[in-house]
Symmetry: C2
Subunit: 229 residues, 2 copies
DNA sequence: AATAAGGAAATTGTCGACAATATAGTCGTA
DNA sequence: TACGACTATATTGTCGACAATTTCCTTATT
């Protein structure tokens, strides 16, 4: 339990593990397009492996909502919809709100200082490259809070399920917004609440932070859809 | 997505599916004891199947937190701890709170009436057999609310992950409490809030309902541990 | 020309065997 | 006797082949 999502290619022993990571990235980046059928023989030969470990990997991709499988028919990459994105945001509001509350109750001063250092780092990066912050930086922050909750199931659900879904939608709907400075401020507020061990406030702020983000995305999607019509 | 947990043995085509269901029940009921090592050859021959579909099933059991696997070492049934049980309850408070809110916003009058009918059913069953209500009946109610949320990820997480964990702990820690009548009243309050489409109230009541349940279980575990010392 | 039935091709599900790794046991030495 | 290295055994990971099912194409009939 409590796997850390491997940004830098971590030491993973088994072929199924490695292929699973590769496929996760391939799906997130759209190399394997959303909605497309997955052919086991084709994929296996493409990666130079047998169907055994590939199927093991597919099984995990299904568990983290990146593909859907039907018995005797096969696997398809999930399709991205506005509705599903909203659903994910709602779950994040709930789950990460809880995470923030628990983090406020559990995190040591040392942990909080590390969080602070991360924010300081982000502050500089924002000036240079907003897009970085919007992608990896934001993720780092949220993941740090979730880890701070010390709830193994929460950590697991976030890093195994939600993490990849968030990346998938960020990557493919990839819209850069003007919310970055505002989001950064909100991050600061959340850290303050955690430092004061004010669980209720941390929960409220985190929930609202993600809710704001959701509303922003919903608005942008509306506009975007309006344009393409 | 959105699998319904199969109480009555549903039509499942593939061997891996069937074996997965059997193993889920075997683990929940303790036929395969908590913490025990799982030998693939032994299990495969016991169920008269090959290791292929068995491994597929194990992969899913890992995804729903019933076993833990280490590469090149093997799988063990998870061990049940007070800490993990509390963690699960905290997540339920959060997630099912959200579910109740969404159910209040989304459920049609017809759905609410069906919920009511379920409660009416439960009212009679309580008189006859409290233990039934505590196990399956309670589960029915909570699952109905989650379905009412209309959030596919929520439905999926509940019926694939949390469902089995809840059953596991209920079965193995299996303690009958005096909370049944109180829990029934709380269920009624939640349905009322949903009927009035009062999302905030439904969320609050559901969260508190599960929180009460958690506190009750914590207390009972303390007493139980005190006895065995 | 459109639809249905039948068969051919391809894909998924399952199996048994082999390779790689970990575990258990044995022997030797301090 | 206790500890460590080495060997043997057992278990997990991977592979290729076969069986079962679906999908696609061809053909025949109305």
């Amino acid at each position: 339990m409590s796997e850390i999502p491997q940004n830098e290619p971590n030491v993973v022993s088994t072929i199924a593990d490695k292929i699973c990571n590769k496929l996760q990235n391939a799906i997130v980046e759209g190399i394997i397009p959303a909605g497309s059928k997955i052919s086991e023989p084709a994929l296996a030969s493409e990666y130079g492996i047998s169907r055994g470990p590939l199927r093991e990997a597919l099984s995990r991709l299904e568990a983290c909502y990146l593909i859907e499988r039907k018995p005797n028919v096969g696997a398809r990459v999930v399709t991205l919809t506005r509705e599903h994105l909203v659903e994910i945001y709602l779950i994040r509001e709930s789950l990460e709100g809880l995470a923030a509350r628990l983090a406020a109750e559990n995190m040591s001063d040392k942990d909080v200082n590390e969080l602070d250092a991360l924010l300081e780092e982000h502050k500089h990066q924002i000036v240079q490259d907003q897009s970085y912050y919007q992608k990896e930086g934001d993720m780092d922050f949220h993941f740090r809070i979730v880890k701070g909750s010390n709830n193994s199931y929460l950590i697991d659900m976030f890093s195994n399920d939600l993490y990849h879904l968030i990346r998938l939608y960020r990557y493919q709907f990839g819209m850069v917004s003007k919310r970055v400075p505002r989001a950064f401020v909100e991050h600061g507020q959340i850290v303050d609440a955690i430092r004061q061990h004010d669980g209720e406030l941390a929960q409220f702020l985190m929930s609202r932070h993600i809710s704001n983000s959701r509303k922003n995305v919903e608005k942008m999607l509306d506009e975007h859809l309006a344009i393409s019509d």
